[in-house]
């Protein structure tokens, strides 16, 4: 066989290039599918929706203010999974009509407030992927008993990969 032809087309460098291309394609595909499997943002949004829905329907601020108020049983959430840590976080901030009025803060799970605040100031595409993914929901509600207006701000996060 012609040595020059061998060197030109079937050299060790040619095979090395194929290996590099192959490894790049494999890594690219695996990265693509790992991103596809990341549902943290959806989970965070679902948690925010769930909390918002259960608090807003028949909103009663007096009931929420009670010391024995249990957000987990009220919203059908499993407390153990939030206490387990590393998976979920929520923070509910209820404020009255007047902005100066003190409200009530309820939170559970890991404290990822700083991480979530950082995520919210970033564009969605620039968000830090290693941080938990967060969702925010603000609702204006009227108390079913007193007819007073309140703002319910919910921040929920998930870090389940």
């Amino acid at each position: 066989m012609n040595k020059k032809a061998d060197e030109k087309y079937l050299s060790i460098w040619m095979f090395l290039i194929w290996v590099i291309i192959g490894v790049s394609i494999v890594l690219g595909v695996l990265m693509f599918y790992s991103v596809q499997g990341d549902v943290r943002q959806i989970e965070a949004q679902l948690l925010a929706d769930k909390l918002s829905l259960c608090l807003i329907s028949n909103f009663n601020y007096a009931e929420i203010l009670k010391s024995d108020f249990d957000i987990y049983s009220k919203c059908g959430l499993n407390k153990d999974i939030f206490d387990k840590g590393g998976l979920y976080y929520f923070n509910i901030n209820i404020t009255g009509e007047n902005s100066g009025q003190l409200g009530k803060i309820i939170f559970g799970g890991n404290n990822w407030k700083t991480e979530c605040d950082y995520q919210f100031i970033k564009e969605e595409s620039d968000r830090e992927k290693n941080f938990p993914q967060c969702a925010k929901q603000d609702s204006f509600v009227v108390d079913s008993k007193t007819n007073k207006k309140y703002t319910v701000s919910i921040v929920a996060a998930s870090n389940q990969r």
């Binding site: 032809a5 079937l10 040619m14 499997g37 979920y88």
Partner: protein
Amino acid sequence: MVLSAMHLKLWHNCILSKKMKSKKSQNLITGVIMFLILNIIFFSIMFIFVGTVGTTGGFVEKEYSRKIALAIDKFVPGTEVSVDIRDLYAYARSNHYAGNIVIMDYSANRVTVKLKNGDGSSFYYFVKLNSGAVSIDEKKMELIIKV
């Protein structure tokens, strides 16, 4: 006589050089053909890999464990949801796996999908679910979730 001998030598040399040239070009063509064949084989393997990697057992386990957990989290209490798990049965059959495809751990809030012998893929859900809320209709090949 001398002239004719020289001519003969020149003619012989000419034929030899032509033969060598043709052998060289033949070798070059063989090299190019081999290169093209190897290229086709390499890129075919890559195309097959890219096309099938998303449908391999591991990825399907991961996809369905997430789907089921998100379905449990999404719906309001009192809802009954059915998830088509025909694909899961097909994958389990192709892997010769006859065990439970969807395993619910109600105390740990965890759903596990297994399509072959091994750990499978697990995912947590955050709502409180009653024991026995998830069942499988084997005839219809559906997963019934009563939230």
